[in-house]
Each structure stands twice: as structure tokens, then as C-alpha cells.
């Protein structure tokens, strides 16, 4: 029998995938609009909104002053009165300026109002280090928002996820924060042309394995796959899981995996201490304690702000080699 023919693929960049999601969403629903700094005329500093102004006009692609509180509040007020806004916070590091709007207003309004409001708001932002943007333009702060009931948080790991998760986020009637990663912008992968959703709250087993589980988010998914290849030489058969949605987290899929493999670690770009890996690790040890043959490890950035100097930044950001080394360290040596 002949092998099944591979279906034709359409390669699209991560940037393109996000932009395509926006365009298709805006075509589908006139209540969707995008608001933020430099999103309209400039097409966003990351290029994700290029072409949207020409197609949809300035009413729906709105440039703002540098006023994160105002931008977030505008998104909230619009979402509470029937629209479906996408609010762009240029760099995730700027969320500090609108923390109250996100944490005290957006996240809580539905609950405080006894459910009598619907906030179909999407917050789009860019995280990640490795581009010499230094401490205030390079953070990954997803852990902060996973901690706030009322918000959902997703973190795409590639172009396919970037489009599918953005569509799901905008379609969702809840506030969803979509955290894209700057260093993934150039990645290319097959992205279907049609409008599609990746279901929120469902993890994806990227690579099946039998004796070690790596839970990775964002760009660390790519790095973990590389690490898995390295570790295969040592006889390890690593299963890599991409949660895709951080809140709500698909505990079940991860726990099932660890019950099978007995060993696990979590890899993320964010600072290791208090990173979201700590929550995942706690859940794993709670639900799969009797199946663990080794402590649950975490790979994250060291406990410092992101350094500027390139060799220091290179040290700082986790990569495949670090992940593989941590796996070996947890196992003592290779069994």
C-alpha cells in the first residue's frame, strides 16, 4: 500500500497568521474592532495589523494616544455595551499601566454584577525576550493573569495556534488575553486558509512519548521538541504537551500523560520563581503523586530582570540545551 499523500500545505508566518485572524474576524462580525497604539496607520509595530485600515477604515481600526488605562477602559466600556473589541497592549510590559482596568474592572465586572453583563473582550499583547529590548520590553507575565478569576489566558506556540487561538479568543464571550511571543513572529507553518478555532482549555500533545513529559508554553514548545530529539539519543522517549490555554488549564491531559510517563518538567520563558510552571507542577504532584518517579522540574528564566547585553540575554532565555540538561539533572544521570 502506498503511503497517504500529504495534503497540500499553505505556509504562513506567525505575523501573517495573526493578521489573517484579525481580518477574517472583522469581515465576519461588524462588531469586532481593534484599538491600540499605532495599530491603524502604522499597522502595529509588529506588523500584525498591516492592511486592516485599508480594508476596514479608521472607525474599526483605531489609533490611540499612549494611554493604556484609557485604551483598556475604552475596550471594557465598549464590550459592556454590545461590541466585541480587540484591545492591543503593545508590549506586555505595559500592562502595569492598566492593571486596575484589567484586574479590578474587566476581570470582575461580570461577577460583581451578578452575571448580568457579558464582556466579549480580547486583549492582544506581545511578550518575550531575546531581541535586545531590555528589561521593560521583554517580560513574560502570564502568571499574573492566570491568577485572576474572570480572565482567560492563551499563549500560542506557532502560526497555526496563533490564528486558531485568536479566533477562539475573539469568539469567546469572556475576556481573553492572547499573549503572542515576539521571537516567534517569523516562524512559518501550515495555516489553513479558512476561519478556524482551536478550542480553548484543551492541551495538545505535540509529540507522543513514553517515559518523560515536558509541558511547554510559547516558544518553549519548539525548544522542547528540539530537546526531545537530543534526549532520544539517551534512550528517553519524551512526550511534549502544549497546553495552548493557560487559564483554564487542561490538567486532565497533563496528568494522564504523567501517569503514563512518571516524570515531568515544565518549560517557560518567564522567570522560574513564581512562574506558571509552579502552578502546573503543584497540580501534577497533587494528581499524580503516586506515579512520580522523580521530582517535577521547571525550566524558566533566572530571577533577575531581562539583561540588555546580548551575551547576557542569551544566558537568560531558556533553550533546548537547558531543557535537556534539566531533564538529565532530575533523573540524576541517565538511567
Amino acid at each position: 500500500m502506498t503511503a497517504t499523500e500529504a495534503p497540500p500545505t499553505r505556509q504562513l508566518s506567525y505575523v501573517g497568521a495573526v493578521g489573517e485572524a484579525f481580518a477574517q474576524l472583522m469581515r465576519e462580525d461588524p462588531n469586532v474592532f481593534i484599538v491600540g497604539e499605532d495599530v491603524s496607520l502604522y499597522g502595529s509595530v509588529f506588523g500584525v495589523t498591516r492592511g486592516l485600515l485599508a480594508e476596514f477604515g479608521a472607525e474599526r481600526v483605531v489609533d490611540t494616544p499612549i494611554s493604556e488605562s484609557g485604551i483598556m477602559g475604552l475596550g471594557l466600556g465598549a464590550a459592556a455595551t454590545g461590541l466585541r473589541p480587540v484591545v492591543d497592549i503593545m508590549f506586555m510590559d505595559f500592562v502595569g499601566v492598566c492593571m486596575d482596568e484589567i484586574v479590578n474592572q474587566v476581570a470582575k465586572m461580570k461577577y460583581m454584577f451578578g452575571g448580568k453583563v457579558k464582556l466579549p473582550l480580547t486583549i492582544h499583547t506581545m511578550a518575550g525576550a531575546g531581541t535586545s529590548m531590555a528589561a521593560q520590553h521583554s517580560q513574560s507575565l502570564e502568571a499574573w493573569f492566570c491568577h485572576v478569576p474572570g480572565l482567560k489566558v492563551v499563549m500560542p506556540s506557532g502560526p497555526y495556534e496563533a490564528k486558531g487561538l485568536m479566533v477562539a479568543a475573539v469568539h469567546d464571550d469572556n475576556p481573553v488575553m492572547v499573549i503572542n511571543t515576539k521571537t516567534l513572529l517569523g516562524a512559518r507553518a501550515h495555516v489553513p486558509e479558512e476561519l478556524y478555532e482551536i478550542a480553548l482549555g484543551k492541551a495538545h500533545v505535540v509529540r507522543q512519548g513514553t517515559n518523560f513529559t515536558i509541558v511547554a508554553i510559547g516558544r518553549m514548545v519548539t525548544e522542547s521538541l528540539k530537546a526531545a530529539e537530543m534526549l532520544a539519543e539517551d534512550g528517553l522517549d519524551v512526550e511534549v504537551i502544549d497546553p495552548r490555554t493557560l487559564q483554564p488549564f487542561d490538567t486532565e491531559t497533563v496528568v494522564q500523560s504523567v501517569r503514563k510517563t512518571h516524570r515531568a518538567l515544565i518549560a517557560h520563558e518567564a522567570v522560574r520563581f513564581g512562574g506558571i510552571g509552579a502552578e502546573f507542577a503543584a497540580q501534577i504532584q497533587e494528581e499524580a503523586f503516586d506515579y512520580l518517579d522523580a521530582p517535577v522540574g521547571r525550566v524558566g528564566a533566572p530571577f533577575s530582570p531581562v539583561p540588555f547585553s546580548p551575551p547576557l540575554e542569551k544566558e537568560y532565555v531558556p533553550n533546548a540545551a537547558r531543557i535537556a540538561a534539566e531533564v538529565r539533572r532530575i533523573l540524576g544521570k541517565l538511567a
Binding site: M1, N211, G235, D237, H262, D290, L331, G332
Partner: protein, 446 residues
């Protein structure tokens, strides 16, 4: 040699039991036949007598819950020492209210580093941790150490065999034992090509399992319960344990179906589609399920959830195993599409090319043993479904017109239902609906 006292196994399904109470204290004397401990399981409470005389040395405390057959005590003959490496429990701490400053002396066991998994495995096997040598980081006892100590063999024997992950996956799906495969990759690593070569020894259109295993196995062989075999074993056992299964048979007059199938085979043959009787049954089931959605359901904790879609699992026998690929949306497919799809999936299954997504999520399953000469059988429901239909063989039967015998073709359908979700009568109604469709099979073409 000290006599080992192992926890009594009471009944086939007993999973664990507690030593509720010791009737002889640690260090006390006991005679054969004297009550030694009381065991409690969730079903029973039973007094267990000593089978030897001597000094009792507890290996577990009162209240401890262990697996049946686990070591719970030793009975030492006069002057006999404990087996080396085994330390006795501190019985002093067991006496309650001894005084505020009675600090329990530390057991050796608490100072031993062992992974949670290793602890559990050791406990289940009744092997004291103190007797196991740890090879993990810092001398920690890990899973492999426990397995070595219990003679269970390495946890993941495949780790000892160099094989690429893809090769492992393909081998697992094909139910292939990697130890039997010759590796041609670097350093003798087993590659995907090696696995494909090994599985292609069976011709793609091989007849179902009936004869093949006999050629591969010999008396005295030990077939490890791993991979697909293990999965099947666990699932089948769990299915029977978790559900209340009831099977009913019904005879179907197949004359019209035989004619129809023959016609369709002629018509579709040139396009490479071979319709089978099972395909007719699949279509009949799909149609009948739209009338009887209760059989297309899942049992949850406190509700029966009817599933919106009809995805029919079709059991395909392999060399040494069984897979159940799924025909999705069978109610929306015509008979031709079903035949084409079932062909495709069966071939893919036998070649080990089925994707995970092609095997997951059936809402109702169909299994056929007719070609193996079976008339009626009790198929086991494929969890989380609530029913499964078995197809028997078509054979000559007799109907009576007064005193005159009439020859006709008959086939028995065997429907197993989960009685938690479906009662006998609705099940029989559904089965009757399937029969009616098969007996007037032109309805399957509509």
C-alpha cells in the same frame, strides 16, 4: 526460614484490604490456628488464623491497607532471626495516650529516600523499602529499583532496546513485540522501516486473527502484557467491571441482504469498493440509532448523556490484537461511502497506519465474528459506549410454513447493552429495528 504472613486474598475482585486489628501483638507468641488478625475490605470483615507457630513480627501497623498477598508479618520459630535488612515496626508508638512526650521512634522507612511511585510499587508488592538498593539521585529508590527487587523486570523494557520513537509507536499499534525485530539503524537501532518490514510479513488482506497467532506462538511461550495487549486486557476487564452488561440475540433473515450485497459488489467492484455484510449492518445500525438515541450514549457520574453524533467503531482483528477504527457520522454517509471508508480503515488498521484520531471517540461499536464461524457471542461493550453489536455468521436455516420446511439464510445479531443505561426492552426494540432494516435492505440505500 521465617514464615511470611501474606494478606489474605478474599475473592477474585479484591483489590486491597486493611489489617484492621492485630490479635497478637508484635513480639507476641502465636499458635497455628489461633486468630492472628482481622482483615477488612469494602465488602467483608474476616478473622484470619495463623498458619504457623512462633513469635509474631508485624511488618505493617494495624489499620494499614495493602494489596492481597502483600507481606504483613513474619512468624519466627524459636531463636530464628528476622530476614536480613528487615527492621521491625516500633510497637511502642502504637499504644495511644502513652504520654505527651512519647515521641515515636523514627522508622528506618521514613529516612529512606524513595520516589512516590517507588513507594507505592514497593508497598503493593509487599517489599520493605529497607531491603531495596536505590540507584536514583542521592541514592533515591526509584521505580527501576523496585522492579529489580521484585524481579518484575525493567519497567519499560523498550528503553533497553534502541528504537526510534516512531518505530515504537508503529510497533505498539501493530501489536508488534520489538524484541523480535531486527534493527538496521545506527548502532542496531530499530527504525520505522524495520517495523514496517516486520509487519508487512502479514499480507494486507490477511484473514482475521483466527489462524495467524498459532503460527507465531508455541506452548510455553510467555506473552508479556504490554502495549496493545495490555491496553486490551485492561479495557475489557474494566468494561465488565464497571458496567452491568446484558446480551441478547436475534435472528435475522438475510436472503434479501445477501442478494443486495451481491448486486452492490458487482456494481461497485470496478471502483475498488467491496461491500461486506458488516457494511450493511453498519448502515442499519446508524439508521436505527437515530430512532433509538439512548443506545448512542455515555454514562457519566449521575447522568446518561446522549451523544449528538453517530461515530461507529468497527472492530478490526489484527495479528495479535484488536483495534476499533471509527466511521464518523455514519448516519450521514451513504452505504457506498460506508463501504469505502470501512475498507480504508480496515486496511490502514492491518498495516498499522491508523491515526490516533481515527481510533478515538466511537459512540457505538460493531464487531463481527461471522467469518470465523461464530453464530452467537457476548461482545464486550467498548467503554465509554453503552452498547455493542456482534455480527454472527450467515448460514442456512429453516422456516416452517405449516409443516413445510423453507430454506432461508439466517444470521444472529448479538447485542450487548449496559443495563445501567438501557433496559432489555428498549435494547430489544433497537435490535428489532436493525433486523427490520436488514430484512428489507433497500431501505439502507435511501
Amino acid at each position: 526460614m521465617p514464615t511470611e504472613v501474606l494478606l489474605l486474598k478474599a475473592g477474585m475482585t479484591m483489590r486491597e484490604g486493611a489489617v484492621a486489628e492485630w490479635h497478637v501483638p508484635d513480639g507476641g507468641e502465636v499458635h497455628t490456628g489461633q486468630p492472628l488478625y482481622r482483615m477488612e475490605t469494602e465488602k467483608i470483615s474476616i478473622e484470619v488464623e495463623a498458619e504457623a507457630s512462633g513469635v509474631v513480627c508485624h511488618a505493617v501497623e494495624a489499620g494499614a491497607t495493602v494489596a492481597p498477598g502483600a507481606l504483613i508479618a513474619y512468624i519466627l520459630a524459636d531463636g530464628e532471626p528476622l530476614p536480613p535488612g528487615v527492621r521491625s515496626l516500633p510497637n511502642a508508638a502504637a499504644v495511644p495516650g502513652k504520654g505527651a512526650d512519647a515521641r515515636p521512634p523514627t522508622t528506618g522507612a521514613q529516612e529512606i529516600a524513595a520516589s512516590p511511585l517507588a513507594r507505592r510499587l514497593a508497598k503493593e508488592a509487599g517489599v520493605p523499602l529497607a531491603s531495596i538498593r536505590g540507584t536514583g539521585p542521592g541514592g533515591r529508590i526509584i521505580e527501576d529499583d523496585v522492579r529489580a527487587a521484585t524481579g518484575a523486570g525493567p519497567a519499560d523494557p523498550w528503553r533497553e532496546i534502541a528504537a526510534s520513537p516512531l518505530a515504537r509507536q508503529l510497533a505498539a499499534r501493530a501489536g508488534l513485540d520489538l524484541t523480535s525485530v531486527q534493527g538496521t539503524g545506527p548502532g542496531g537501532r530499530i527504525t520505522r522501516e524495520d517495523v514496517e518490514a516486520a509487519t508487512s510479513v502479514q499480507p494486507p488482506q490477511a484473514p482475521p486473527a483466527a489462524l495467524a497467532p498459532a503460527a507465531n506462538h508455541h506452548p510455553g511461550d510467555r506473552i508479556p502484557l504490554r502495549g496493545m495487549r495490555k491496553v486490551i486486557a485492561e479495557r475489557m476487564h474494566a468494561s465488565l467491571q464497571d458496567m452491568a452488561q446484558l446480551t441478547m440475540g436475534m435472528t435475522v433473515v438475510m436472503d434479501e441482504a445477501v442478494k443486495l450485497r451481491s448486486q452492490l459488489a458487482d456494481e461497485w467492484g470496478p471502483q475498488g469498493i467491496r461491500p461486506s455484510y458488516t457494511d450493511l449492518v453498519i448502515k442499519a445500525v446508524a439508521k436505527a440509532l437515530t430512532q433509538y438515541p439512548r443506545l448512542n450514549a455515555t454514562v457519566g457520574d449521575d447522568a446518561i448523556e446522549l451523544v449528538g453524533k453517530i461515530d461507529l467503531g468497527m472492530a478490526v482483528a489484527l495479528v495479535d490484537g484488536l483495534v476499533v477504527p471509527v466511521i464518523r457520522g455514519a448516519d450521514r454517509l451513504g452505504l457506498r461511502e460506508i463501504a469505502r471508508e470501512s475498507n480504508r480503515l480496515a486496511n490502514a488498521a492491518r498495516e498499522g497506519r491508523l491515526g490516533i484520531d481515527e481510533m478515538a471517540g466511537s459512540t457505538f461499536s460493531i464487531t463481527a465474528l461471522g467469518m470465523n464461524g461464530v453464530d452467537f457471542f457476548t461482545p464486550i461493550v467498548n467503554p465509554p459506549n453503552v452498547a455493542i453489536l456482534g455480527v454472527g455468521r450467515i448460514h442456512d436455516g429453516v422456516a416452517w410454513d405449516g409443516d413445510r420446511p423453507l430454506k432461508r439464510q439466517e444470521m444472529t445479531l448479538s447485542l450487548t447493552i449496559d443495563h445501567r443505561a438501557i433496559d432489555g426492552v428498549p435494547g430489544a426494540d433497537f435490535l428489532g429495528a436493525v433486523r427490520d432494516l436488514l430484512e428489507a435492505p433497500y431501505r439502507l440505500l435511501i
